[in-house]
Amino acid sequence: MKWFDYAAPQSLPEALELLARPGARPLAGGTDLLVQMRAGQRQAELLVDLKRIPELNELQCDPGRGLRLGAAVPCCRIYEDAELRRRWPALAEVAEMIGGVPIQSRASLGGNLCNAAPSADSVPVLIVLRAACRLVGPSGERRLPAEDFCTGPGQTVLGPGELLVGFDLPPPEAHSGAAYLRFTPRNEMDIAVAGAAAAVGLRDGVIAWARIALAAVAPTPLLVREAGEFLSGKPANSENLQAAAELARSAARPITDLRGTAEHRRHLVGVLTRRALEKAVARAREVRA
């Protein structure tokens, strides 16, 4: 690795000042960034370690406000939090799916999003759970939906000196559920060939709303609005779930690479979306206090 300097600010204003310097880059868990820097794929003059800043480390489940999650919170804290797991099981499960245990000690969902890999497992989950991203930068604060954050492989909306501080997730509605499924040749420590997240809300026995988002089948994680909208107002039967899965399959724009062919990925999207919907519906039917 080329020489870089390192700073570990204790406050957000201090971090923003450091990030305004030329060649500065934020460091959270480093499980992507350090690998990429070692391979010469990314460079930095200065790494600004975010892990000592309170806002980046927040994890608060509030019955009224929902979940406030700092961008640098490691996966292990997400899946070990009993309250979070009870209310957002799909989020706890995906945090447990990324890498292995030593990776989960460090890797964060903020990092997973900012790395902007099309295969990022947590991003489709954040999208279907309607996560809002909180950003601060030289020109102030802004919020945007998770689905609008990535603009291409490794590319995001972050402007120069701008930082992802964290996520806000609305509280889960009564009779709603979510799930994420992926296909990998190995059970652990693998990267999705394809993945599908689904969230549904039921009202009077029919689907009131649904959201479906895909991993590893487009240049960015992909929200398939039409597949969710199709289900709205329809009974949650296998015919309708299958039809929504077909819409997701058609929306996928997969490529062929070392992990799989475009054809295989498209097939997987259909299967995974249907199964993720079934699991989300089952969860929505569970009685939850």
Binding site: F4, Y6, V101, P102, M189
Partner: protein, 162 residues
């Protein structure tokens, strides 16, 4: 600070330790090359093999993916910190007795992973053991003997506590 080495004050195996490193040096390099603790091994150097695993503030991490400067004020446990003098830690003894060691390159990482696992889940299922060890590659023994060693260690540690 431009181009300056950084002084890091940390705790290694219960003892205060201080070292001077470049910000780009990994914790693995600092442990091996500056502090002379060569128990953690460099395998892949990108977080896949687990040979460099150490415990940092009670969490298992790949020390190749941690910067040495990040260790400031933290507590590190390496394989050198497990035995009490010539008395092996029960996990180390279980690995020997079950033949879960062959060339030994992956062993420090596997033993620390086992320690981190048993500190959190004293009686893990086979599935939990395999999930916890999935980030550790062994090319000699196969993993069954490792799983047996973890089970033996769990049983022995439970007995000590009882």
């Amino acid at each position: 600070m431009k181009g300056q080495k950084v002084r890091v004050r940390t705790t290694v195996n219960g003892q205060p330790a201080e070292f001077l490193c470049e910000p780009r040096q990994s914790l693995l390099e600092c442990l091996r090359e500056i502090l002379g603790l060569t128990g953690a091994k460099e395998g892949c150097n990108d977080g896949n093999c687990g040979a460099c695993a150490v415990i940092l503030d009670k969490r298992l991490v790949n020390s190749c993916l941690v910067l040495g400067v990040e260790a400031e004020g933290r507590e590190i446990t390496t394989i050198e910190g497990l035995a009490q003098g010539s008395q092996l830690h029960p996990i180390q003894r279980a690995f020997l007795e079950q033949g879960a060691v062959q060339c030994g390159f992956c062993t420090p990482g596997l033993i620390l992973a086992t320690k981190a696992l048993l500190d959190r889940l004293p009686d893990p299922s086979e599935l939990e053991i395999r999930r916890w060890l999935a980030n550790h590659l062994c090319r000699c023994t196969g993993y069954d003997k490792v799983v047996r060693a973890v089970r033996q260690a769990a049983a022995e540690l439970a007995e000590v506590k009882a």
